[in-house]
């Protein structure tokens, strides 16, 4: 092999070595975000144990007024039978010929109610309700099927402790069984 060939070959080998090294294929460009991660607008999800719930409180009677004002147009005055998803009633209907998957009949966790109302409702103005208003609305919805008492105060401590009627109704298919 000539000297020139040897030089070309060794250059090629160098290139192959260089480009096949996994860590040198690309540059890590993520910027540190520990501070951002703490900010409330990046902590919207609320876990079943209540982690992520903001401070606040509300009861059903307060929620009833808000419901008429902000929710009834789409969900109906009784919280069922209108253009939007049904919220109240039909507890125990899941095994019937006409099951209704309302919040109160189907949802396994009350924390989901707070999480979903805050990020999505009212549909024409998400993120427009205060924590107190969301606790009050949740209290009103849950109280309509006696899941909590009429005068029960929902707050960041009590909401995760509410046991929904269909809490045990779900079978996980992941990992596949």
């Amino acid at each position: 092999m000539s000297m020139a060939s040897k030089i070309i070959l060794s250059s090629l080998l160098f290139l192959i070595t260089c480009y096949s090294h996994a860590d040198s294929d690309y540059q890590a460009l993520g910027k540190p975000a520990a501070d951002l991660s703490q900010q409330s607008q990046w902590n919207l999800s609320i876990a079943p144990d209540g982690k992520g719930l903001p401070k606040g409180k509300g009861i059903a009677s307060q929620g009833k007024k808000l419901f008429a004002l902000k929710c009834a147009a789409c969900h109906g005055p009784e919280g069922i039978g209108a253009s939007a998803d049904p919220l109240m009633g039909e507890v125990g209907s899941l095994t019937s010929d006409y099951p209704e998957k309302t919040v109160n009949s189907y949802w396994p966790y009350a924390t989901t109610l707070f999480d979903y109302i805050r990020r999505s409702m009212p549909i024409n103005a998400p993120f427009s309700l205060t924590p107190d208003e969301i606790y009050a609305l949740s209290a009103y919805i849950l109280s309509q099927d006696a899941i909590i008492a009429e005068d029960f105060e929902l707050n960041e401590e009590t909401l995760p402790r509410v046991t929904m009627p269909n809490r045990e109704g779900f079978i996980s298919f992941y990992p596949e069984n």
């Binding site: 294929d25 690309y26 540059q27 890590a28 460009l29 993520g30 910027k31 540190p32 975000a33 520990a34 951002l36 991660s37 990046w42 919207l44 999800s45 609320i46 876990a47 079943p48 147009a73 789409c74 253009s83 939007a84 998803d85 899941l94 095994t95 099951p99 998957k101 919040v103 189907y106 949802w107 396994p108 966790y109 924390t111 989901t112 999480d115 979903y116 990020r119 999505s120 549909i123 024409n124 998400p126 993120f127 109704g169 779900f170 079978i171 996980s172 298919f173 992941y174």
Partner: protein, 420 residues
């Protein structure tokens, strides 16, 4: 056996051979008279005048303006609904970007890419964020795959067969080439803690849609997609960035992605509890049924079309797909499932992607029930409607993948029917 496709294929070939022989007997034309201009009278206008100008972004022919997504939204909240891909009007396997199905929970956000970031945090060594310019410098890969809404074909659960065109009953599924960054690169850059098992993905729309995804899938074949069929994502498909989880139901392929939070348990959001779970007759519900099982559909002939010639030769054509891998077989029946014949699969057959199948069919005016049945590489066979309902009841709403039956009447009309 008279109307099974096997026999039709042979008849089709014989007819084709006969046509060729006839063509050979036609005599040569005599020379044209050159004394007068003949062509202006005989050629169409578009051959005698210069055509239109160049266009910055091409549009379909005005003669194809009826090939559209069909929108079904809540009148009280027009941003909450779906639009269906017109599968019955399309051929091949790639869904044009303007016809990709949509499911929005509160409209299409008009995101300024300069102001959008992706945050990866939770159970990681160091929370990190990315802007678009940085992401564009990462190595990208392309994956051609379908995305199917978990609620696609849900009219199949109803007691009476819906009389909608194929795409307007089954078109909450589309197939595109998605290009982006393997998510594992970005997750590993943040440093995955050993306790992390789930990831909460969140979108930057006016529903701030959040849903839990097993970390395992994101480390497998998931993409942070930036491109759709070669161009940047359409706003309605997640611009400037979305998740693509090949083979897993649409809701998990979060559009307008803003955050991935690693956790050790699912968040139990509305869209993994109240929705996208399947109620069974005993009152329990299947949850975290992520994979879209194998499915197929004859797109032509199908409802809304008719068979003009009796007898006539028709090219049965359709789509098959499976969230578990490649389609290995599609069978066609013309007699309601008594006899089945293998269809031709158009290559290349791709993993978790639309596969086009076809079979020529010689129709002689008889009453027929056309069906297709898909099998994937795991051996899973698409079920009949009866078997699916037997297993799941009628109130599951999601993950309907039963065989679809098109009734061909003796007059050549086409209806959607059950019971075969």
């Amino acid at each position: 056996m008279k109307n099974t496709p096997t026999q039709s294929r042979r008849q089709f070939l014989q007819k084709a051979a006969l046509g060729g022989a006839l063509a050979g007997t036609i005599s040569l034309p005599i020379l044209a008279n050159t004394d007068k201009l003949e062509f202006p009278d005989n050629l169409p206008e578009w051959m005698r005048k210069p055509g239109g100008e160049f266009g910055n972004y091409g549009q379909p022919s005005k003669h194809e303006q009826n090939v559209i997504r069909w929108i079904s939204a809540n009148p009280a909240a027009p941003g909450n609904g779906v639009s269906w891909t017109p599968l019955h009007d399309l051929q091949g396997t790639i869904t044009p970007n303007g016809l990709h199905y949509e499911r929005h929970h509160n409209g299409v956000p008009q995101i300024d890419p300069e102001q959008h970031i992706l945050l990866i945090d939770g159970l990681v060594e160091k929370p990190i964020r990315f802007d678009i310019k940085s992401l564009m410098r990462y190595p990208m890969v392309s994956k051609t795959c379908f995305i199917e809404c978990g609620g696609n074909s849900n009219s199949g659960w109803r007691s009476n067969p819906i009389q909608s065109q194929a795409g307007y009953a089954h078109g909450l599924v589309s197939n595109a080439e998605w290009t982006g960054i393997p998510l594992k690169l970005l997750l590993k850059e943040a440093g995955i803690k050993s306790t992390a098992t789930w990831v909460i993905a969140e979108g930057a729309d006016a529903a701030a849609l959040n849903i839990s995804i097993p970390l395992e899938k994101l480390l497998d074949d998931a993409l942070l997609a930036l491109y759709q069929n070669g161009e940047r994502l359409r706003p309605e498909n997640g611009y400037p960035m979305r998740l693509v989880l090949p083979g897993w139901e649409g809701i998990l392929n979060v559009k307008w992605l803003r955050q991935l939070r690693l956790t050790d348990e699912p968040i139990m959001s509305r869209d993994e509890t109240s929705q996208y779970t399947e109620l069974l007759p005993d009152g329990t519900a299947r949850q975290f049924t992520f994979i879209n099982e194998a499915k197929s559909l004859i797109t032509s002939p199908s409802l809304g079309m008719m068979l003009p010639d009796n007898p006539g030769i028709y090219q049965i054509s359709g789509l098959a797909w499976s969230g578990r891998g490649k389609i290995t077989r599609v069978e066609i029946s013309a007699d309601g499932g008594d006899n089945w014949v293998d269809a031709e699969l158009q290559g290349p057959v791709l993993d978790k992607a639309f596969t086009r199948f076809s079979l020529p069919w010689h129709w002689q005016g008889e009453y027929a029930i056309l069906q297709s049945r898909a099998t994937d590489e795991t051996g899973y066979v698409q079920p009949t409607r009866e078997a699916l309902v037997e297993n799941r009841g009628k109130h599951g709403f999601f993950h309907y993948n039963a065989i679809v039956s098109w009734e061909i009447t003796e007059e050549g009309d086409i209806n959607h029917v059950y019971g075969f």
